[in-house]
Amino acid sequence: MDADIKLFENGKRLDGRKPDELRKIKIEAGVLHRAEGSCYLEWGGNKVIAAVYGPREAIPRHTQNPLRAIVNAKYNMAAFSVDERKRPGPDRRSREISKVISEALENIILVEKYPRASIDVNIEVLNAEAGTRCAGLTAAAVALVDAGIPMRDIPVACAAGKIEDQVVLDLGKDEDNYGTADLPVAIAPRTGEILLLQMDGHLTLEEFDKALDLAIKGCHIISDIQKKAIMEKYQSVSEGK
């Protein structure tokens, strides 16, 4: 991108959004037949699908915990989901994302109900455009509800960041590449507990406060969309559609 293109001008961002405006989000629960729970999510240009299997016996057995279930989230990007073809299979980046998402979900799932079991959450990124980990976690949460896994809350994630000295919600592709900071956050919306938090870039203390605030506000908006998607699925089931 040319240096003279401004990411933020006249109170508007490159894609015309206001600083505190989310990209368009669409969530659909129960899209797969084999999985016990599933969810398809579109978030701006991101297209993500999540599926849940379990609780089932954890294999290999040495991974079992006699006191509780283990949560295995697997984040995987399709080879065709990015501009330059990605080599199939896990790399260091996707392993790290899988780990932080697993840990966030483990906090919220009532794992002590299922000793020695594993709950497997598979997140597939079909089209990637900044913020896939938030999209993945948000989709995974809906898939877990769809699978009937007992949880304390429905987790939700959203990022805030900084472009051109301006703190903004939900970074888009160019904002992520050329902005100065990115702060993905996942929360339990009922209690406000923070389940996932990462940051890269440069923020002052005040900017961080503002960004965190903004990200949490974003989470609450998305939380409503999640709940609507779940309601819609069960409404259509009960009406026999």
């Binding site: 037949h33 084999r34 699908i49 299997y53 697997k74 399709a78 080879a79 065709f80 597939e124 990637a128």
Partner: protein
Amino acid sequence: MPITPSIKRDYLSKLAENGKREDGRKFDEFRKIEIETGIVDKAEGSAKVKIGNTQVIAGIKMDIGEPYPDTPDEGAMSTAAELIPLASPDFESGPPRADAIELARVVDRGIRESGLIEVKKLCIESGEKVWIIFIDIHILDYDGNLFDAASLASLAALMTTNIPIDRAKATLERLKDKFPSIGQYLNDHPEDYKLPLTDPPVSCTSVKYNGVVVMDPSLDEEEIAEARLTVATDKNGDIRAMQKGLNGSFSTDEIKKVIKASIDNGKKIQEQLYKSVGK
């Protein structure tokens, strides 16, 4: 045989004796097929195919690379299938297992050997630079007959593929210094253009259990199948590729019947395929 498949086998066999299948289809009838193209913007071409509950996505990426020494003026292709754990409780992550490799190779062969892609038109600079096509197949939901779903998704994705001149422009300009005739290629192709293709061969898979042969097996039918046969046919009704799988056998008569049914079903699927890509 484990206990569940043997119960299934009794049940399906009994149905078959009365000329029935578990989902009420005729022996030579496909499930409902849906084809949706252009679902992944980052890919040069993409398609999602549903056959009953089975769902497969294929995405095409293209890159500039070196040709094989024995075909210096032809583009190259590579096909990979991932049986990701999302699609079935029995799929595990990790390097592709034999069944994923067989699946990718059968799809690859159907496309490669049928001459679907006009590979000579993918040459940028003979012996030096050609387009390489990557076909990546993602199984989303596994409810039987991955062969046909994967091959159909790959065909639909290829038929909607645009060669990404715009994205590769910087690379091509740089290569122009070393290979001046690339300038001619850029003049002839100033912007993205459709991947040059001939007519697509459509594959139809049948399996045999307890003496009956059924088209488009469901997951249960696949689990108890003794033998499998995939036949790819073109719009003239000619045979373009075949693959027999599993340890059972077919009689010659059965093979002929399967081919006939594959031609009939193939014609219908061809029509649907053309319609779905807007032709």
